[in-house]
Symmetry: C2
Subunit: 231 residues, 2 copies
DNA sequence: CCATGTGAAAACTTTCACAGCG
DNA sequence: CGCTGTGAAAGTTTTCACATGG
């Protein structure tokens, strides 16, 4: 299973949708929207209104009957659910390759309140430099720095089979959660949530969906032809 | 809903797991493994043996009772399911930023049979160069080139709100499927599968899971303390 | 004897339908 | 009157349990 973490209580799919609602609300706030209905939020995200209401109601009663949800209030509530309150999540990147650099450069990630405080690599040419203003340290300093800075999230962006060892270093240093972007599944102690995202798997899945869609289209076409002959 | 595409028949989760099985089998082949049981595959991926068997059986009967699955054969079968047969999937990247470059550089994606044939950007400094041996064309040439080369998959790696317009250009040029890495949901005609991956959402989800895990740990601790006082 | 493949049961998720309240 | 919040129904996925066959 790609996400090693078991959501326990709130379904995984609900969490994913909550993130989408938050993304929509951020957009709506810029647009100056004051009130939003479950239906509108549903149309923006491609789910049903009932689902939006059910998802939200598993965290509280945020709406007003008759009018909908206060956009500003709902955004704040969801931000709180995701822990974007007093705390700013500190992060580090392990593996300053092209994917690591992409994460360091992502403005969207920073907008959600995540702050990169360190990056790690074994390449002596990279160590000592700064990438997107974030200092790159040698991998051998990982434990010391993660522990000293109290870094919350570690993102693994190494290509190779080193991922498992790095995960171990991270949780031994007291990391609170791991994002694994390597094509390698990771086992960590129960207490440490691990979320794995394998970009190459997305290409694979898409190629399956393309084939199904095209096969379905061919079958529909065949049906139409059969029907036109059956007069 | 992030994945706009409806899997219709085979559940989405099954497809995701099939990809993981393929990844494991590739590894096992290198290790020289000849036969594998559903249980072993399950342990490697963190699912149950029943689930592996159920997943596989929705595509065919690949196993031998008493012994398990022939690793080589099963790998080939799953490759075929994912369309890795005669055809090599041609891809293009729209937006040669850091994420676009990361995808172009990914050896894992190429190992699954995906081949980049073009990249597009609006930046005149990038246009005309090659990134990872792939030529960068102006965005204005997108339709012509996608159509001429018959490109199958378009990956959108632009940061901004341009994603929707690019998606439209892609499907008007006859693309067969879209991978959307922008933090923007995309609507395409039914026939064109779209898979959206928003990396910033993964950070968000992880922060939720970290909080749940830590809260659960605190509650367990409280229970232990309560129990020790209840003697 | 061992592990697959699969009906049937259990668990979970989504949708329906509507009571309840601003 | 309109939209939320939620029991109950419908639908889907996972797990259980075991018949089946190499």
């Amino acid at each position: 299973m790609v996400p090693t973490y078991k959501s326990d209580g709130v379904p995984k799919a609900t969490i994913a949708r909550m993130g989408m609602y938050l993304r929509c609300l951020t957009y709506l706030e810029q647009q100056g929207t004051v009130t939003i209905s479950s239906r509108e939020l549903a149309d923006m995200t491609g789910v049903t209104g009932e689902q939006v209401r059910r998802d939200l109601s598993s965290f509280g009663r945020f709406g007003k009957r008759g009018s909908g949800y206060d956009a500003k209030r709902l955004k704040t509530e969801i931000e709180t659910i995701f822990g974007r309150g007093a705390e700013r999540w500190t992060c580090c990147i392990v593996g300053v390759g092209s994917l690591g650099t992409a994460l360091l450069a992502s403005r969207t990630i920073q907008k959600w309140g995540f702050k990169y405080v360190a990056a790690f690599d074994t390449d002596p040419d990279k160590v000592g430099t700064r990438v997107e203003h974030v200092p790159v340290y040698p991998l051998s300093d990982l434990k010391t720095i993660v522990r000293r800075e109290g870094i919350a999230i570690g993102a693994i962006t190494t290509p190779g089979p080193s991922a498992r060892g790095i995960a171990r270093m991270l949780w031994e240093a007291g990391i609170r959660g791991i994002l694994n972007f390597s094509p390698q599944s990771i086992k960590a102690p129960e207490k440490i949530p691990v979320l794995s995202v394998d970009l190459s798997q997305e290409f694979l899945k898409l190629s399956f969906y393309i084939q199904s869609a095209e096969q379905r289209a061919r079958e529909e076409q065949a049906e139409i032809i059969a029907a036109s002959h059956a007069d």
